[in-house]
């Protein structure tokens, strides 16, 4: 707002006891012939007998950035010089230069909260007066229409209720990032629509994210748009897979993600909503819907959401982010094209060799025990299983190397017809002695889970892996 060249601005509300207590002071200032502008947030009839600017619309209070009433601002040369909030007699005397101001009043009374900072109000005012430009189409629904049903009716939902994306909620979500709402973060398949930070934020609201999750969602979208991840094919395939989101680094702890007990399960808001937001963006911005371009025969429940963070409390464990060349203090999102969870139990192995042999046998089941170099696999190694490897001095590289050597298959066992099973790889491979079950970087190990339980998880990947399909991708999170 345009400030007067010189004088005082007073912002108050009648509802505030301090504002009414110090009413005599206002007249004293006015009578001192100082130029005083009184602005009321709730009732311009108060203070009685004075010229009061009606600011029940709160535009002036918003532009003056008022947090507490009363606030007295001194202006000179059209600029604010200083301000005081509440009633601090000493400061009011200094600002007005009136030595006997409010003589009979107590020295100190705290003020009340400005109406501009009441819950939900800052966002409303920023939309109204703050010059915020949200460019998305605005849909008006009446209060008679249930807003959650309205979201269903428009086809935005994955089947579960959505948080209605009001401009206020979206604005609050956008506070979670320093990036501009209009920035394009990727081109989303299948319709190849540009996704702005704003569109991602709208979908993050619907998914139930908190604003501080938004940078993770944005990085996940960027990762999904990398060519190596092949999101278009992953969406279109009849296979089970969808994006599995793995978060590393300090942000995972800052936003309270779960890497411990039930890390792959329900109950943690960040885990649940970040994965869901990515899926909703593919659905709503990219237009990828089941029955449309998503042709999955069965799908998997992880296509609602599949997101967790890696356990990083054991310095001997090389995290996924470190493995991909990132520093331990950087935060990253990795995406793996994965199916559901296949449980792996081994409660009796006490040596790394026994455990590795045991795990390798279970890994053969990924996609089909006869398939080689087809689906990748993500193994989520639990603390109790890792302990067995760790005690014997096996680090991640050693575990992987041992598993690879155990996972070679003789061609004659896996070709079509072998074992009276028609499925298999082409007969030409029958003479090959050793065929690796997984591509060289197709077996991925991460660490998560509760402290008790000699169980780990095998998450099989999309059978179209590597350059002909999808590869694990990692993207650094930008705040």
């Amino acid at each position: 707002m345009n400030l007067p060249q010189k004088g005082l601005i007073l912002v108050l509300k009648k509802e505030c006891p301090t504002c009414t207590l110090i009413e005599p002071v206002y007249r004293q200032i006015r009578d001192s012939k100082m130029l005083l502008t009184v602005i009321s947030q709730d009732n311009p009839e108060f203070p009685e007998g004075m010229d009061v600017v009606d600011d029940t619309g709160l535009e002036k209070s918003f532009h003056l950035d008022i947090e507490v009433v009363p606030t007295l601002i001194s202006v000179s040369g059209g600029r604010e010089q200083s301000r005081t909030s509440g009633w601090v007699k000493e400061e009011w005397i200094e600002l007005t230069g009136i030595a006997d101001l409010g003589q009979s009043l107590p020295d100190l009374r705290p003020g009340c909260g400005s109406i501009t900072v009441e819950p939900g109000m800052p966002e409303k005012l920023r939309i109204k007066y703050g010059g915020v430009e949200l460019s998305s189409r605005r849909l008006k629904i009446t209060a008679l229409e249930d807003e959650i049903e309205a979201c269903y009716d428009r086809g935005w939902s994955d089947g579960l209720p959505l948080v209605p994306p009001t401009p206020e909620r979206v604005l609050r979500m956008l506070d979670g990032t320093q990036r501009s709402p209009s920035e394009i973060i990727g081109v989303i398949p299948p319709v190849l629509a540009e996704c702005t930070v704003e569109k991602a934020a709208i979908n993050a609201v619907m998914a139930g994210c908190k604003p501080e999750y938004l940078p993770v969602v944005l990085a996940a979208v960027e990762a999904a748009c990398l060519d190596e991840f092949c999101m278009h094919g992953l969406l279109a395939t009849t296979w089970f897979s969808g994006p599995v989101v793995i978060v590393n680094g300090p942000i995972s702890r800052a936003i309270g993600m779960n890497s411990g007990g039930n890390a792959l399960g329900q109950g943690n808001r960040a885990n649940a909503t970040i994965g869901r937001a990515l899926q909703l963006i593919i659905r709503n911005v990219g237009g990828g819907k089941p029955g449309g371009v998503d042709r999955a025969t069965l799908g998997n429940p992880g296509k609602y959401t599949f997101c967790f963070s890696e356990k990083e409390d054991n310095p001997k464990w090389q995290t996924l982010a470190q493995e991909k060349g990132f520093e331990k203090d950087s935060s990253t999102v990795s995406l793996f094209a994965g199916d559901g969870v296949q449980g792996f139990v081994d409660q009796l192995s006490r040596t790394p060799d026994s455990l590795a042999r045991s795990l390798s046998k279970s890994l053969l089941a990924v996609a089909n025990h006869k398939f080689v170099m087809a689906a990748d696999a993500l193994v989520v190694l639990s603390p109790e299983h890792f302990k067995i490897f760790d005690r014997a001095g096996w680090d991640k590289a050693r575990i992987k190397a041992e598993l690879y050597s155990l996972l070679d298959r003789p061609g004659q066992e896996v070709v079509r017809g072998a074992d009276d099973i028609l499925e298999g790889i082409p007969e030409d491979f029958a003479s090959v002695d050793r065929l690796p079950k997984f591509r060289p970087d197709g077996l991925i190990l991460v660490h998560a889970g509760g402290d008790a339980g000699m169980f780990s998880a095998i998450i099989g990947g999309w059978i179209a892996s590597g350059p002909k399909g999808s590869q694990l991708v990692t993207k650094e999170i930008v705040l």
């Binding site: 189409r137 605005r138 008006k140 209060a143 979201c151 994306p165 399909g469």
Partner: protein, 94 residues
């Protein structure tokens, strides 16, 4: 109860793209027909059958193949088909 609730559109706000079909070929005789194998198992079986039927009707048949069914066809391949053929048949099989 006449309060209006505003929701922001979470979609890409694309009007449904309307793609006009190319005019139907008046005759197959002498027409260049592309057969695109998307690299799915046994797609070639279907295409071979189509080839013989098309040739009986006097068409000139050309074969094309996508490197992988998991990805969309490379732009170069689309351009090659578009410049060499009057129509294309894409086979999906398993």
């Amino acid at each position: 109860m006449n309060e209006i609730i505003t929701l922001l559109d979470p979609t890409a706000e694309l009007a449904p793209a309307r793609i006009e079909l190319r005019p139907r070929l008046k005759t197959l005789k002498g027409a260049n027909i592309g057969l695109l194998d998307i690299s799915k198992a046994r797609g070639d079986v279907l295409l071979k059958r189509l080839e013989s039927q098309l040739m009986e009707k006097g068409a000139i048949v050309k074969f094309y193949k996508k490197p992988t069914f998991a990805r969309t066809a490379p732009v170069e391949l689309n351009q090659q088909i578009a410049t060499e053929c009057d129509a294309v048949i894409e086979a999906l099989a398993d």
